[in-house]
Symmetry: C2
Subunit: 197 residues, 2 copies
Amino acid sequence: MSKDSDPRQQIKAAINRLQPLPEAEWEAFAAQMTLKRYPKGAFLVKEGQVENHIYFLNSGATRHYFIRDGKEFTVDFQFAGDFVTAYYSLITREPSAVYITVLEEAEAWSIPFSALQYFYDRSKYSERIGRLIAEGEYVKRLRKEMSLLSLTAEERYTALMARNPALVARLSVKHLSSYLGIQPESLSRIRRQFGKS
Amino acid sequence: MSKDSDPRQQIKAAINRLQPLPEAEWEAFAAQMTLKRYPKGAFLVKEGQVENHIYFLNSGATRHYFIRDGKEFTVDFQFAGDFVTAYYSLITREPSAVYITVLEEAEAWSIPFSALQYFYDRSKYSERIGRLIAEGEYVKRLRKEMSLLSLTAEERYTALMARNPALVARLSVKHLSSYLGIQPESLSRIRRQFGKS
DNA sequence: CGCCGAGTTGAACTGAATCAAGAAACGTGG
DNA sequence: CCACGTTTCTTGATTCAGTTCAACTCGGCG
């Protein structure tokens, strides 16, 4: 197997970007990972389950959402190179309020929570990686909160377009609108104004 | 000085609740803290500044807010026993988008970012404390995001009343409404319905 | 006292939701 | 590979939650 096609290469690079790991530690960690395939429509977590894994996406896409009064609200999307987990549940050990579902067939490393705890307890580097991931997640949530607090529907859409046009291009109106806190009809109207780019 | 009136007691307890520190490490950390007083109306950070401190409130209250189009939007409030910092700026080292202002005269420990880095690099325990704080901040942001995404103004108010009535009682209509993403007039009307409790 | 910011109330307005219906895209099985 | 059913997207008409604008009250503080 050539080095380039090693499926571990991608997650190793992602981790080293946060905090380089000594080779032995990386190997010990890698031994705990399992490579899995999830078809479109599969669930990584469902509401009510306690999250016991963290995933790393080699390919594909996933969506975090929750249901209130029968309606879906999307929290976030993940793509190749992202870590994926019902973070709230993983941290608090409470049942998850969110579903994680596969939007595009995904290849992902699955790492059990118990392995995470094991490395947190033994490795300063792991602890730092955990901190950096948590900080990154915080930043994403704060950005979105500020957007929801202070912007109109149209402004939220145009801000997302400016920040991440690839995201907008890749997702359906339905999913995008539920992420922005807008009804699909309204998003459709907003897009019309801009020559739907 | 009796043990109870030692102003370090409160922050020590808060830290030990997250992760007990060996005594020597605690003392080294405590040596980096400075006790300060901030009058009502003072700013801990202003928009545009890079955050270089983390604070711990012994008493008083602070408010995080940002300004968009001349209007204030409140992100969160902190009270005695809370850590306070422009976390986004502290993490990213970018200029802060938020102001932190003192709502009620505050006594706070001020800890420089450089000390934080120093301990992060040397102590596994510090790294864990940092992780746990980041995780806690994430949880708060996610909760608020979900509330803004899926609830009406009235529902957001009643949910906050249910979760944290003390908060609602302590704050002005003006600040509370800017936290909930509602105009003060609308919050006033909402409260009237419930016999303003 | 008298001002001034905060809170309340009313009336009119509006951004976005809802309801409804048709068009386009999708995927599944024959 | 096409036909059919299902879901998604768009568009229009209507409604409504919440904003905006404006006036008045209240309580604290100089």
